[in-house]
């Protein structure tokens, strides 16, 4: 089964048109202490199941999008633009 990502602009495209940007991680505020920032840099949930993540349509419209994917099957459950869907 092909692994397709639905770009909100370009439609369903093969995953090789995209660059994977990793799971969505909340950036701490600048007033947070170093240990909080270390967690932000390195620690990941790396969920086996639904994951919110970033993708960049590098061989298409060259925009960053947000997706929800089941990481056990690579099924993309939903996609949207940052700001329009919840990160």
């Amino acid at each position: 089964m092909a692994f397709l990502v639905r770009c909100p602009n370009c439609g369903d495209r093969g995953v090789y048109e995209f660059r994977f940007g990793g799971e969505v991680v909340r950036r701490p505020s600048t007033s947070e202490a170093a240990p909080v920032w270390m967690k932000y840099f390195y620690a990941r949930r790396n969920a086996a199941g639904n994951q919110r993540e970033w993708w960049y349509h590098s061989l298409g419209c060259r925009r960053w999008l947000l997706a929800e994917r089941d990481t056990t099957t690579n099924e993309i459950l939903s996609t949207g633009w940052p700001g329009e869907v919840q990160a």
Binding site: G22, Y42, A43, R44, R45, N46, A48, T71, N74
Partner: protein, 404 residues
């Protein structure tokens, strides 16, 4: 007359409700830890795996053994593991089919050659047999390599590491399991860990569908599944799970007798005793827990292999597969006691390079359990390095080296 094997390699046991040590994961790292615990006289131990023995990355590994790493932390560790592998077959009294065929890391650009040179210098300083050679010597070692000039990626030099080789991955799994079993360790395949119980900052055991098992210590050796296990203990770790794919061709007559790796081409290849060429490459460009192989990667592997060995242009691929790899930000493993959760020990972060590390990781993890002291060899690889921002920079080596 048919002859059947009378003795099983390891016994079956009912799962008890308490052990001194529970090891989660029966790949090479979990089994090696169990084996060395047994050798140290600690045998009230259970190894639990949700699947069959070695069914994770260990069964899917291309099983290259080498010690030509980059950093002052990693080289001594992998050198020790390499040494243990050299004696492991006789120690286990089990043929691991270790073929010390040697290894070439090819440099196709000034910048790759710079990193290869740096590795050679560090290797020599730390007692690892590795040196830079030019095209003439490459030609002698692997006459089939395409050394013609004027290619986009010409072959400029190589890092030659004579003691590198390949072992039979299944044999390592079986040999360690048998050795652990003989020392009294219990091995429980098809027993999934579904929870980790804790009290007052200590682990107290694990939960399984067959019931709760209490344990003085719990070791997670679950590679690509590590994050799912640490999550049971309330912990997010610096690991992302990426699949690594490999494939093998139909068998042909002896053709190359050395492992060849090219970071610029993202490919490595060697020929097995059966004549098949084993080909591997980089991890897939996205994280996933799916172990499906893809046509995209097969095309990449094939194209890159032909750049190095054009004589293979008509050869057929027989099989292709994927395994899960627990990638860390610095391409170095995570070993040792987890701060703030007594009795919880990690043996993970093995990424695409962990097969060769199993003897040393198992022995040092067993030593930590037996003595309560972290052996110096693994001190730099503690999980806490990510809180202290004290990473081990094997990632730099990865830029110029395929990382298997």
């Amino acid at each position: 007359m048919m002859v059947f094997r009378k003795n099983r390699m390891w016994g079956k046991h009912p799962l008890r409700d308490a052990y001194d040590v529970v090891i989660v994961g029966a790949g090479v790292h979990g089994l090696s830890t169990a084996y060395y615990l047994g050798q140290m006289g600690i045998s009230n131990v259970a190894v639990l795996d949700k699947g069959y023995l070695g069914g994770g990355a260990s069964a899917r590994s291309t099983a290259i053994i080498r010690s030509n790493y980059l950093t002052a932390e990693a080289i001594p560790f992998f050198r020790e593991s390499h040494k243990l592998y050299q004696g492991l077959a006789s120690e286990l009294s089990f043929n691991l089919l270790f073929d010390e065929m040697g290894r070439l890391d090819i440099g196709h650009s000034e910048s790759s050659v710079y990193w290869l040179r740096l590795r050679a210098e560090f290797n020599q300083l730390l007692g690892v047999d590795s040196r830079i050679i030019g095209p003439a010597e490459i030609k002698k070692l692997a006459p089939q390599i395409d050394l013609r000039e004027g290619k986009t990626l010409p072959i400029m030099a190589a890092l030659y590491h004579p003691p590198a080789g390949v072992v039979r991955h299944d044999a390592v799994v079986w040999g360690l399991a048998r050795g652990a079993d003989r020392a009294g360790v219990e091995i429980h395949p098809f027993t999934e860990v579904t929870g980790i119980t804790r009290r007052n900052g200590r682990v107290t055991g694990v939960e399984t569908p067959a019931g709760r098992v209490s344990a003085g210590m719990v070791v997670s050796a679950t590679a690509g599944w590590t994050s799912t296990v640490t999550a049971m203990a309330g912990l997010d770790v610096p690991i992302v799970t990426f699949p690594l794919q490999a494939c093998v061709t139909e068998p042909v007559k002896p053709f190359v007798h050395i492992t060849i790796s090219s970071a610029d081409l993202h490919v490595y290849v060697y020929q097995t005793d059966r004549g098949e060429l084993v080909i591997g490459g980089p991890v897939d460009p996205y994280s996933t827990y799916s172990q499906r192989s893809t046509l995209d990667m097969l095309q990449e592997l094939a194209a890159s292999t032909l750049e190095l060995l054009p004589a293979l242009r008509d050869i057929k691929i027989m099989r292709q597969w994927a395994g899960l790899c627990d990638m860390t930000p610095d391409y170095a493993p995570i070993m040792g006691q987890v701060d703030g959760l007594d009795g919880f020990i990690l043996n993970c972060g093995w990424g695409t390079w962990g097969f060769k590390a199993a003897p040393a990781s198992g022995r040092t993890t067993a030593e930590l359990i037996a003595t309560g002291r972290t052996p110096d060899l693994i001190r730099p690889f503690a999980l806490s390095r990510f809180d202290d921002n004290a990473l081990v920079n094997e990632r730099a080596a990865a830029i110029a080296a395929a990382i298997h």
